[in-house]
């Protein structure tokens, strides 16, 4: 995690995946992972839109200080789009980090046999 975006592998396989999340930024950051609900194409557009959706927390890290690392494992479904979001708010202006770049998504690929 950097202060304004997530860096992650371009291809994320389905099945059991271990996420090792490292805060390489200068602020407190976090990562919540959840599958995008039906009808939501883009997590960035969703967060900036006016109609809210409800999702079940799937996995994630506790808030990580700069230099800290968190790890969690999840079972990802093939061909499913997941979002990664930091909902931590910037203490300086109260704005969500999700609206400052810490929101991304990926679609899982089939795991090779």
């Amino acid at each position: 995690m950097l202060d304004d975006h997530y860096e992650f592998l371009s291809r994320v396989p389905s099945g059991r995946v271990v996420f090792v999340v490292y805060n390489a930024g200068h602020s407190l950051h976090g990562l919540d992972l959840f599958p995008l609900p039906p009808g939501v194409v883009s997590i960035v557009a969703q967060l900036r839109g006016s109609q809210r959706h409800i999702v079940a927390p799937y996995a994630g890290t506790v808030p990580l200080l700069p230099g800290q690392q968190g790890t969690f494992a999840v079972d990802l479904q093939p061909g499913t789009t997941y979002a990664m979001v930091s909902f931590i708010r910037d203490p300086s202006d109260g704005s969500s980090q999700a609206l400052k770049g810490l929101a991304a998504q990926f679609t899982t690929t089939a795991r090779r046999p």
């Binding site: 959706h53 927390p57 506790v62 808030p63 909902f87």
Partner: protein, 166 residues
């Protein structure tokens, strides 16, 4: 510590507290092995930004972790009997959950953290549950998260249901 079971005074006090204060609940305690094996759901009406609690089923009372009936109030299945309050806790974070568990979060809840309530209507349990409507409905923001606290006539318990708004 337990409350007197089925006292009218408690019910009156509980119902009177709806929408105003749940301070009376602060004095409650609960057993270490309280049943929290509830099932249910929180849903969001996107048109009105209203959260609704529905579909309760599970155990309530001083059960052991395996769910066997060792206490007074522990239905095996179906709606928990004699629920007096169901509260929605806002801004429920994973850090708080990890440090004390939702059960402890519910015990520590205070009026300013409670945003919705449901009260059993129709007398002795298994009544109708009305949906809690959030005050300030337009202020449901991405990243808001909610959890449930359930109170029966003895104990306060936490439900594992949690949701996040995007």
């Amino acid at each position: 510590m337990t409350r007197p079971r089925g006292t009218d005074a408690w019910r009156v006090a509980t119902k009177a507290a709806v929408g105003t204060s749940v301070a009376v609940l602060l004095a409650l305690s609960s057993p270490a092995a309280a049943c929290t094996a509830f099932k249910g759901s929180l849903t969001l009406d996107a048109a009105t930004s209203t959260l609704t609690v529905s579909g309760f089923a599970g155990n309530m009372g001083d059960c052991d972790p395996a769910g066997s009936k060792v206490g007074y109030s522990c239905p095996v299945a179906g709606l928990p009997d004699e629920i007096y309050d169901v509260e929605l806790l806002p801004k429920f974070g994973s850090a708080a959950y990890e440090t004390g568990g939702l059960h402890h979060e519910c015990m520590a809840t205070s009026p300013h953290r409670t945003i919705g309530q449901v009260v059993v209507e129709g007398g002795e349990g298994k009544g109708a549950y009305g949906p809690p409507v959030l005050p300030g409905q337009a202020n449901i923001d991405p990243g808001d998260s909610y959890a449930l606290c359930i109170y029966d006539d003895y104990y306060v318990s936490g439900n594992e249901i949690r949701v996040t708004i995007i």
